[in-house]
Symmetry: C3
């Protein structure tokens, strides 16, 4: 008898939903890494490393900080194969056909990943009874630090730190929504999607409008 | 009855002193991050991230290396609020009034932080029975790596690695003072301030004189 | 009676061989860090930090990811003294005599380190029952990430990500050789050197021929 059949159905579907969420967000972030690697004309190793950092870097850094094992990509090692094969296939396909991927088109799956990662990162930290602000920041780390590591490795200042677009602040807001709904004892099956949707919609709103964060010494 | 009231007064005051020390050094380092973020014209997210890395990065890296939890900023999460509010307030105040903060003025609190962090980092590692050189290097990591992470994120070679000013070597010397005093069984209440003062005074001496570290191929 | 005398001779010689392997590779990588630090004209602190990162960075990152303690440089703290003394001595000797170290000459010990580190890193992860691909990647991290951290700290894109030379892929191949030999139940005393030799010879072959990895958009 499969031991997982003993798991109560709700817990199972939650744990299952969390895996699906992490997977979907992972693909979106890996694509952003691919794009940056192409822009810097990295070789096949560079493409895989930068895509892998963008995809798994945020969650891995969160887990290192929380001293949590196994990592997503250790428990689900098949995803590493998917990443490697997808990177090599993408290099081969996109070189052959000159498929145009614009940074603009990439913003949509990226906004989805931002919401999903900030909600799941915050939830994981809340389950470990960390203070609310720390939990929310762990959600922001999950959502934003993959992209930051991607930019640091390719020797650029992380975009999230200077472009004045709402990005990390959307993840921050989504995390607080989860903390609030958690406080109201809402079931995670509802609270998680609501928090993720808040962060994603705020990001989309930021993309479609000219809202800008304050910058230091913009007048200079 | 509060369980901490059972703690012997000396142990309590030591643990209390260590918290105060870490807090004071944290403020000094956060200010250095603020300054660098302003120089690079980061937005409000960048200012908070760079100030936070400068303030908490060294101690967090030390704790990750030592596999020590909770981090300072998890156990004292209120300090994160202070950091966030201070960063936003600083951006607003300094933009409005054009208060001149020069790198020169910042060197003084930074020298204090250098001493305090190197002493507390070394002490923590000694309490874990690590070899003396490792303990001293953990003090250097605590004192110097926050600034190194700050510089790496804003895409510069860490100043501590090339400017030939005595900085990390002062932390190194302060750590050895603590190891020596510890070996002589001096009480930590005396040994910690003495070690911190050694590192700080050496740094101040380096600031006021023209002492330079040897560099590789300075003649080329 | 020395407790280690109770260890069965084979286990002892394996554990001893692993220490020797890590030490030899460490020296090769430290030299690569020295060279880069010289090229960037860092001061004595920078030379020690960059050499130390190149030497111990890959293994330390692997151990942080695997949540494994103590680090090599904590268990064998004497190696830190060797590193510090060697760095200072190298600065003094090479400045005085203008010994020419070319990047070309450095490739040979570096190829040795690549093989040794990828085999030992993969073995350590296999002993922890991690999935084969994760174990192989831990070997690659051990072999390649020291050099990547070295390049990131001196503010360059890691060479391993763009120069199209076979480097990380050699470590990857060596790791799979170890996984295969392990699967065939070959004794580690044979499997480890065979895997290390595979990675090293592939790297040497790559150095002596004009084999290049595919790059993204090489035609632009």
């Amino acid at each position: 008898m499969n031991p997982s059949s003993w798991m109560p159905p709700v817990a199972w579907s939650l744990s299952h939903a969390q895996t699906v969420i992490e997977a979907a967000a992972t693909v979106a972030f890996a694509a952003s890494g691919l794009l940056e690697a192409a822009r810097k004309r990295l070789d096949v190793v560079g493409v895989c490393v930068v895509a892998g950092l963008a995809a798994f870097g945020g969650g891995t850094l969160r887990d290192v900080l929380l001293d949590r094992r196994p990592f997503f990509w250790v428990a689900h090692a098949n995803w590493l194969w998917v990443l490697l094969v997808a990177c090599v296939a993408a290099m081969w396909l996109l070189r052959a056909r000159h498929v145009p991927i614009t940074q603009r088109a990439m913003q949509w799956p990226d906004a989805l990943g931002l919401g999903l990662f900030s909600a799941s990162g915050t939830q994981i930290a809340l389950q470990m009874s960390l203070p609310p602000l720390v939990a929310v920041l762990m959600g922001v780390v999950t959502a934003v630090c993959g992209g930051m590591l991607r930019d640091i490795v390719i020797n650029e200042i992380p975009t999230a730190l200077y472009d004045r677009r709402p990005y990390a602040v959307c993840a921050f807001a989504g995390g607080w929504v989860l903390v609030g709904l958690n406080h109201l004892r809402m079931d995670d099956a509802w609270a998680l999607p609501l928090a993720a949707a808040t962060a994603t919609l705020l990001r989309v709103a930021g993309m479609l409008t000219e809202v800008r964060l304050p910058s230091w010494r913009e007048d200079l």
